[in-house]
């Protein structure tokens, strides 16, 4: 499946708005300026995801998943390398967890941070596309990238093809770099593109 230039342009603009809202939320939480890179939009078979994402993050990662349902459903993921996750928890708690293992308290902080950031992102989708998205309780995964990707299942429908939108962000004055990834199944992708096209027409 290939996106047309118009679809890709409208989708990138929508995602840019959504990710900017997410960056603002992260900045509010940490008190640090957040530098957001240009979002990338692409359709990949789910089996290729590991290769795509491994270019940016490797080894053990901390990821917060939030499954969302409604007219458009999928899995939204905040991914951080393990060290970045530790630093982010430190910034939020000032407890100085350092580079050790994330304890239960740190994991909980990370999960709520993911909840806030992913809601900020997906909420923009809901508002602009005029669809209501329901959120599940966030889940934290601490594992290798491929193990995390194996868990990308929405209900009974395994995601074989997916729209992957991702961006990297950096907290200024810290070495936290993270990735926001939204994975949609093909049925939801179809509905999303339809809604995005309507939204883009209204804008122009």
């Amino acid at each position: 499946m290939i996106l047309t230039d118009e679809q890709k342009d409208a989708l990138t603009e929508l995602i840019n708005i959504a990710f900017s809202r997410t960056a603002a939320a992260l900045s509010d939480l940490t008190g640090h300026r957040v530098i957001l890179n240009v979002p990338q939009v692409a359709v990949h078979p789910i089996t290729d995801l590991q290769g795509v994402l491994a270019e940016f993050v490797g080894g053990e990662i901390a990821s917060v998943h939030q499954i969302f349902t409604g007219p458009v459903s999928g899995d939204a993921i905040l991914m951080l390398n393990y060290e970045g996750a530790n630093i982010l928890v430190d910034l939020l708690t000032e407890e100085g967890a350092g580079s050790g293992r994330l304890d239960v308290s740190g994991q909980e902080v990370l999960m709520e941070t993911g909840n806030i950031l992913l809601n900020a992102c997906l909420g923009v989708f809901g508002n602009l596309l005029k669809v209501h998205v329901s959120f599940s309780v966030p889940r934290l995964h601490l594992e290798e990238l491929n193990a995390m990707l194996d868990s990308l299942v929405i209900g009974k429908e395994e995601l074989r093809y997916a729209l992957v939108v991702y961006t990297t962000f950096q907290l200024r004055d810290s070495s936290v770099t993270g990735y926001l990834v939204i994975v949609l199944g093909v049925a939801s992708l179809d509905r999303l593109l339809h809604a995005v096209e309507e939204w883009a027409q209204l804008k122009t």
Binding site: A25, E112, N115, I116, L118, N119, G126, N127, S136
Partner: protein
């Protein structure tokens, strides 16, 4: 100054909310899920509830519905990361006194609390 019950499954969010409310002179109670929140509401009779939506176990909207059944005059501010307009509409229709978004900003929280307690 009021007795305020926070119902939120996130320790971070409860801690942040407490850090805003206590310096303003409010007494803070906590519950980590909807069922416990309903029990504490019944036992402690707080003047205001700060309620999360996406929680393990009972969803916040269901908690709100039960609270309103127990006490039609219950004052509830929903504090959620969900920024959707449709969610705001649903929360208002369910009888919440107000809604604020996370991440929590002290000024916004205190203003919502003042308005809720005044109403």
């Amino acid at each position: 100054m009021a007795r305020i019950l926070i119902i939120d499954d996130s320790a971070l969010s409860r801690r942040m909310m407490r850090a805003i409310l206590e310096p303003a002179g409010h007494e803070v109670l906590e519950a980590t899920d909807g069922i416990t929140g309903l029990e504490r509401y019944f036992l402690d009779k707080p003047e205001l509830v700060m309620l999360d939506l996406t929680m393990t176990g009972m969803h916040g909207l269901e908690v709100l519905e039960k609270l309103r059944e127990m006490d039609p005059a219950a004052r509830v501010i929903v504090a959620t990361a969900d920024i959707q307009s449709s969610t705001r509409t649903m929360v208002a229709a369910a009888g919440a006194t107000g809604m604020i978004n996370k991440p929590l900003a002290a000024e916004t929280v205190l203003q919502a609390v003042t308005e809720a307690l005044r109403g």
